[in-house]
């Protein structure tokens, strides 16, 4: 049914339609509305049977999800930012144990400086944790990906993170099509665990593994992720056939066919990029967008196939590897090994900095003329950076950087957008 709903609400509805047995909840912005929504659904009896467990921390949230999943329950939790970091040890355990937990990450920056706004630093910090990572472009896709994620997780017996841009998607109220319970039931069979803790048939899960087999266990996790490269598009196709929508999959191109310049991105910025590409196409620039929906496993072959006809590739990413440059760009470059393409990394939107069509148009104009630096920070305020550098060169005790920059920027409250 079509609804005008907040992204978080849509995701709560989608998770409820997947009939989780256990929802572990600990609040952190911008994720909180999702578990609040699920809490209301459990309390009202609409989501039943389901145990809604208020835990004392994110570490506990993931630990309880692990316990629940190992006992054969379909388990779900959600988090963001420092919450994801705080549960990090358990995040690795969930994948190491092969437990098909689904978790929403409402992407948010990581402090310090403390910042509640959107970027991809949190999920990227866990890209090597062994979880599958899917990124949503819209709230409809976020809703759809959760339904696909449970199926994917349980087929593989691996956990899946569904990443959606904090605030930009979680707090946006827009049109979503919420499927019927019967449709979701037909798509997602009841959870049949590959391993289960059962008092009647006792087994142990989580053995200590020494040098004799540790590498093999890790290798099997890798092999499973690689096999997901086939499960993900198949499940997306099944979803499309049943629900009539293209959601998920590995990658999705937009106007890439004859494009000389292709922009690669993850998440909601793809929407703004599509608008930008349409405008630039009207001006005669041959440009397209490649959205990556599955970041882990990383679809090397699909990315290569989509990009190899282009002359230049611009990766616009909301993540940043301090001391190197892009995170996503490094993976994209691997996909392009041996190809002679101009490659550019554009770090954008860190800590919620708005990524505007005007800035993207300007940047892509520079890229098309090969005037762009290999690593660019979109809309970096060079003025306040230089002032701080001067301060540090002038005085040893130049003071805390964040506070200095805020003073230089002046009052933010008076700004409109």
């Amino acid at each position: 049914m079509l609804q005008q709903a907040e992204g978080s609400h849509a995701v709560a509805e989608a998770v409820a339609l997947c009939r989780p047995d256990v929802v572990c909840a600990y609040p952190i912005s911008p994720q909180t509305h999702i578990v609040e929504g699920l809490g209301e659904l459990v309390k009202s009896g609409r989501l039943s049977p389901c145990e809604f467990i208020n835990v004392e921390s994110e570490f506990a949230a993931m630990s309880v999800a692990i316990g629940a999943s190992a006992a054969g329950a379909r388990a779900y939790t959600a988090t963001a930012s420092q919450g994801l970091l705080f549960m990090s040890e358990a995040v690795y355990n969930a994948s190491g144990l092969g437990l098909p937990i689904v978790m929403t990450v409402a992407n948010r920056a990581i402090g310090a400086p403390i910042n509640i706004w959107n970027d991809h630093s949190d999920a990227m910090s866990q890209r090597d944790s062994g979880w599958l990572q899917l990124y949503a472009e819209t709230n409809q896709e976020a809703l759809d990906l959760h339904i696909q994620a449970f199926k994917l997780a349980e087929e593989l017996s691996m956990p899946v993170m569904v990443c959606m841009d904090g605030f930009i998607l979680t707090h946006a109220v827009e049109r979503v099509d919420v499927p019927e319970q019967s449709e979701v039931d037909a798509f997602l069979p009841p959870y049949a665990p590959r391993q289960v803790l059962d008092p009647d048939e006792p087994v142990s899960i989580g053995a200590m593994v020494g040098p004799e087999a540790f590498m093999e266990v890790r290798y099997l996790a890798h092999a499973k992720q690689l096999s997901a490269l086939e499960h993900i598009p198949r499940i997306a196709a099944e979803f499309g056939a049943r629900f009539g929508r293209d959601s998920g999959g590995l990658v999705r191109g937009y106007r890439c066919d004859d494009a000389e310049t292709i922009v690669v991105a993850l998440g909601s910025v793809i929407g703004t990029l599509k608008e930008t590409v349409d405008a630039l196409r009207d001006d005669g620039m041959r440009v397209g967008v490649l959205g990556i929906q599955s970041y882990r496993p990383f679809p090397l072959a699909a990315v290569r196939a989509a990009l190899q006809g282009a002359r230049r590739v611009v990766v616009v990413e909301k993540s940043f590897c301090v001391g190197l440059g892009g995170v996503v760009s490094t993976d994209v470059r691997l996909a392009l090994s041996g190809l002679h393409l101009h490659g550019y990394t554009v770090v954008a939107g860190l800590g919620g900095r708005a990524i505007t069509r005007a800035s993207l148009e300007r940047m892509l104009g520079d890229a098309a003329a090969d005037r762009l630096e290999p690593l660019t920070f979109l809309d970096l305020d060079r003025r306040i950076v230089d002032r701080q550098l001067e301060r540090e060169a002038r005085t040893r005790r130049s003071g805390p950087i964040a506070e200095n920059l805020l003073r230089d920027v002046g009052t933010v409250a008076a700004k409109v957008a």
Binding site: Q4, H171, S268, G271, T272, A413, A414, A417
Partner: protein
């Protein structure tokens, strides 16, 4: 695509106003996208929220920098925030105030835009009368429906009932209806007035 920007203070239901407008537009079969400015929400602090309305899927995710319509829920913001920033020359403005546009010291700003599209409505007074609380957000949407015809008053009422229930919904619908009438009246008066 129509772009509407809401200015108010934390606690005035600024974000809810944008959401209600999006629901009203959805009721009329249109695509709509409402979102807050994502600031730390503190009571009394300036808050901005946005709404886009279109006949096709809305893909743009940037804040609204060139609005077609401005709603100002708290006139004291006029001295603190450049609310008119980026407003299109043919844009609409609706300010919550007992005083007229020129009385608010905005005569000069008014000359940059189409004067007949700039209006004030005493939304707080109307809210107090119908709701018993100084919440101007839904009231201003009634005024917006009269000023711009972006959505109908019926769709606004529908959105209010979708979001609220009972006395709160009734009071807000009554207040929005009163604001609709007040703005309609002001527009008729302005049209009848001799050009100065």
């Amino acid at each position: 695509m129509l772009q509407i920007r809401f200015h108010g203070r934390g606690g005035q239901g600024v974000v809810t106003a944008a959401e209600l407008l999006a629901i009203a537009a959805f009721e009329q079969g249109r695509h709509a996208q409402a979102f807050p400015s994502f600031g730390s929400e503190r009571t009394g602090a300036p808050v901005v929220a946005f709404c886009r309305i279109d006949d096709r899927e809305i893909r743009l995710r940037e804040p609204i920098v060139a609005p077609d319509v401005l709603i100002v829920q708290d006139p004291t913001l006029l001295h603190q925030v450049d609310v008119f920033q980026g407003l299109r020359r043919d844009g609409y403005v609706l300010i919550n105030s007992r005083r007229g546009f020129d009385e608010l010291g905005l005569a000069e700003i008014g000359q940059r835009f189409r004067r007949e599209r700039l209006l004030t409505v005493p939304a707080t007074d109307i809210a107090l009368q119908h709701l018993g609380r100084p919440l101007p957000n839904a009231v201003l949407l009634g005024g917006l429906a009269a000023l711009t015809r972006i959505v109908t008053l019926e769709a606004v009422a529908h959105a209010i009932r979708d979001k609220f229930s009972g006395k709160v919904a009734d009071g807000n619908v009554a207040a929005a209806t009163a604001a609709f009438a007040a703005v309609r009246h002001a527009l008729v008066e302005a049209a009848d007035a001799p050009a100065s």
